[in-house]
């Protein structure tokens, strides 16, 4: 397979995951905003922009943090080059680049949804239309992953696609946790105190984990439980531990296919043992922010190593 094609598959799935996660973030914020007074609602929208790292660009172009301005900025505003419409365009362009290594079903799932989304996002999105746009974004992810699962050859292309998915997903979960932790618990002394359960509920919703969490914890929401769940529980498909072990499988397969050990897998194993030997207590002792910062640095180093090992770029 060409290095450029591998790069296309990897980034197609990174952007797909990013678009899906961004839509979930908006969805969770919308839900929170609807159940809060105006001032608290504004806080929610502010935190969406902060989580996405768009504070500067947003404030340069907007006066306040009302919902419609925020979701339009995130979804489609040209002043925000990282808007969801652009992400989706990147999904499709990467899919076109990798077209010869993508099953027809997977390609059509991307193309069909892109046609609809691109049209929906060509005009400002009203509150009425927002639900449908966000639902389509999530559905697209599911359709593409479903098509991959059911129709793609398990060759190296498949593993590059999956690697992109899990690198991005781990980054997203870590970032959401980091941002909310920062906002809610500026110092360690608050850990263990009673929590604003609405905020944590939102965190769980942003990673599609609200139901799973409550199955496991019978309604008790506390910082320990959430960190345990989102960082260490390898049964939850968006936890850092799950993303590590999934990525590990893909990198192992790539090594096997290429009959050659990779730097990416070496870094991966380091990163995996960094998590594996930690307990929630140790994470809090280290500082959750410090822990997540280290995790994200390791995660992005693995991504870079994949690109180098498999000659993504000339």
């Amino acid at each position: 397979m060409l290095g450029r094609t591998a790069n296309g598959l990897f980034w197609m799935f990174r952007y797909l995951e990013r678009a899906e996660n961004t839509s979930r973030l908006l969805d969770a914020a919308l839900r929170m905003a609807l159940t809060r007074d105006l001032e608290r609602a504004e806080e929610e929208w502010r935190s969406v922009i902060a989580t996405l790292g768009l504070k500067q660009q947003y404030e340069a172009n907007n006066d306040g943090y009302d919902g419609a301005s925020v979701w339009n900025f995130v979804l489609r505003d040209k002043a925000n080059p990282a808007n969801v419409r652009e992400m989706f365009c990147a999904v499709r362009n990467n899919a076109r680049t990798a077209r010869t290594n993508l099953s027809t079903q997977a390609w059509e799932a991307v193309n069909e949804n892109w046609m609809k989304l691109d049209k929906q996002l060509s005009r400002p999105v009203s509150q009425l239309a927002l639900g449908e746009v966000l639902a389509r974004l999530r559905r697209t992810g599911m359709q593409v992953h479903g098509a991959m699962d059911g129709s793609m050859l398990r060759n190296e292309g498949y593993h590059f696609a999956r690697a992109g998915t899990f690198i991005e997903r781990a980054e997203s979960t870590a970032r959401i946790l980091d941002m909310k932790y920062y906002l809610l618990l500026p110092s360690l002394s608050y850990v263990g105190s009673s929590l604003d359960s609405g905020q944590w509920d939102q965190v769980l919703r942003s990673v599609a984990g609200a139901s799973a969490y409550s199955w496991l914890n019978a309604g008790n929401i506390d910082a320990r439980g959430i960190v345990e769940f989102l960082v260490l529980d390898d049964r939850f498909p968006r936890s850092l531990a799950f993303c590590r072990s999934a990525l590990r499988t893909n990198l192992d397969q790539l090594e096997r296919i290429h009959s050659q050990p990779s730097e990416a897998n070496r870094l991966m194993q380091e990163s995996e043992s960094f998590i594996a030997h930690m307990t929630v207590d140790e994470i809090f002792e280290m500082g959750l922010h410090e822990f997540l910062t280290q995790f994200m640095a390791r995660n992005s180093a693995v991504g870079q190593a994949i690109a180098d090992d498999y000659r993504f770029l000339a």
Binding site: R99, R311, A314
Partner: protein, 483 residues
């Protein structure tokens, strides 16, 4: 049939006799058509568009700021050719394609045809596609044009003419294939009633045909097959869909210039496991951009040094650089002589009568008859830069006259043919529209293969003679009936 209008006596309608009866080729189809619910046909017609968009069969059009993707309209009434008609066409096409390859070989070697006084030397000098770098170089297998499209028009039951030769880079074959797929998905029962020659094996034939042209440096001793790759300018190219489609269907890599590099005297592609040699490159990048060391120095679409590798037998480039010389319309006007010179036979497929404006007598005639003629630029393509006398305004004719006088060598003229018509589906029922036909031909050392049918292009506007997709033309599925 509801809403149909039999062909006017002035032009040949492929479905109807002048009196309105159905011609034998369309008998079975029309029986089927009449049994269909009008509402069903209407719905199917709307679905076809959606299906093309979903599959991504689009071409890019560049406007002022943003690139836009458009569909080439598809008409769901097939264009039907009988087995006997096709056999006859096949012989003519084979003869013409053999002559084209012999001609190209001769042009880049001894130029016997020029020495024999049958072709003026100036036609080469004035030809933009002529590549001095190719002189004396013999491509692997001696083949210049591996993939050829011969554009045909019809004016009567037995009257087929060649309108244009596309030896350089004939495009559109993906439409031939997708049109058939779409038809079979829309009307599966139709194909159980009418026996049609399949076209779906084209990509496999193309792959085999290209693999048969491996360069001298390809080492087949270990039993490996030659590595074939398709070179595309990239996702923003108007024909990217076709490049990806063909690579996908052939199981070949789809490469861009940045993926390729000359390593150890071979052109190699950057793969996830390192550089691997390419044996046969089906390039969809123009000659000018192929090698920045030899041609356009700023090109980033090509591969620096590929021409040296080519000359030393390290790669096969299909079609060969310099092939476009025969697509020139001034050369076209000599095709009857060219066919006879290299095959020793009379051409089986005639040319359309052509006046070369470079000849003073012809120029005089053309200037006196602009209102009746079609005048084309010798290097033009895509329906641009031409004058269609009968539909042009007085002002357009006046302006064209000035251009023609200023540079007569740049033009040829042809009579306005009464092209055959074939019905298209409209809201009001079937309506005749003018069509042409581009059959696709593959050439390898093992011989010439022609896919039955080809791409039928149709002018969707009533009375229009322009079938180019860039100017509002559409396409049809083209059937060759089995005996």
């Amino acid at each position: 049939m509801a809403g149909d209008q039999p062909g006017t006596p002035e032009n040949f309608d492929e479905m109807h006799f002048a009196g309105g009866d159905i011609r034998p080729a369309y008998d079975a189809y029309c029986d089927w058509y009449q049994e269909q619910e009008p509402a069903l046909l209407k719905r199917k017609n709307a679905e076809a568009d959606e299906s093309f968009r979903r599959t991504g069969i689009t071409f890019n059009v560049y406007g002022e700021d943003e690139a836009e993707e458009r569909l080439i309209p598809f008409d769901m009434v097939p264009r039907i050719i009988t087995a006997a008609e096709w056999r006859k066409l096949t012989r003519g096409i084979e003869q013409r394609v053999s002559a084209l390859n012999a001609f190209l070989y001769d042009l880049y070697h001894r130029q016997e045809i020029v020495r024999a006084g049958r072709l003026p030397e100036r036609l080469l000098r004035n030809n933009d596609a002529w590549l001095p770098n190719m002189v004396g170089m013999t491509p692997p297998g001696g083949i210049y044009t591996h993939i050829v499209g011969i554009d045909l028009v019809r004016t009567g039951p037995d009257e087929f003419f060649v309108l244009e030769d596309n030896a350089r880079t004939p495009s559109g074959v993906s439409y031939m294939l997708e049109n058939r797929e779409t038809m079979m998905a829309m009307f599966p029962d139709l194909f159980s009633k009418v026996a049609v020659e399949p076209v779906s094996n084209y990509p496999r034939r193309l792959a085999r045909s290209l693999a048969a042209c491996a360069p001298p440096k390809f080492d087949g001793s270990s039993g490996d097959k030659p590595t074939v790759a398709v070179l595309t300018p990239g996702i923003y190219n108007s024909a990217y869909f076709e490049h990806a489609f063909l690579a996908d269907q052939m199981g070949a890599e789809l490469v861009e210039g940045s993926d390729l590099r000359v390593v150890d005297g071979r052109v190699q592609m950057r793969c996830t496991r390192g550089f691997q040699p390419v044996d046969v490159l089906y390039r969809r990048v123009d000659d000018d951009y192929l090698d920045p060391l030899t041609f356009e120095p700023d090109s980033v679409l090509g591969v620096p040094g590929i021409m040296d590798v080519y000359r030393s037998g390290g790669i096969t480039i299909a079609n060969a650089p310099g092939t476009g010389v025969s697509d020139d319309k001034a050369i076209y006007s000599f095709m009857p002589e060219i066919v006879e010179f290299y095959t020793g036979e009379k051409p089986l497929l005639p040319n359309v009568q052509t006046w070369r404006c470079a000849d003073t007598d012809s120029l005089g005639y053309v200037l006196d008859h602009l209102e009746e003629l079609v005048v084309k630029e010798v290097h033009g393509s895509g329906g641009y830069g031409m004058l269609i006398g009968p539909t042009a305004s007085k002002k357009e004719i006046k302006e064209f006259r000035a251009k023609l006088k200023a540079d007569p060598e740049n033009y040829i003229a042809q009579p306005t043919l009464s092209l055959s018509t074939c019905p298209i589906y409209t809201k009001a029922g079937l309506a005749p529209r003018h069509v042409d036909l581009r059959p696709y031909v593959l050439v390898s050392p093992n011989g010439i293969e022609i896919t039955p049918g080809g791409l039928t292009r149709v002018a969707l506007k009533k009375g229009s003679l322009v079938v180019n997709s860039s100017q509002g033309g559409g396409t049809k599925d083209t059937w060759v009936l089995k005996d």
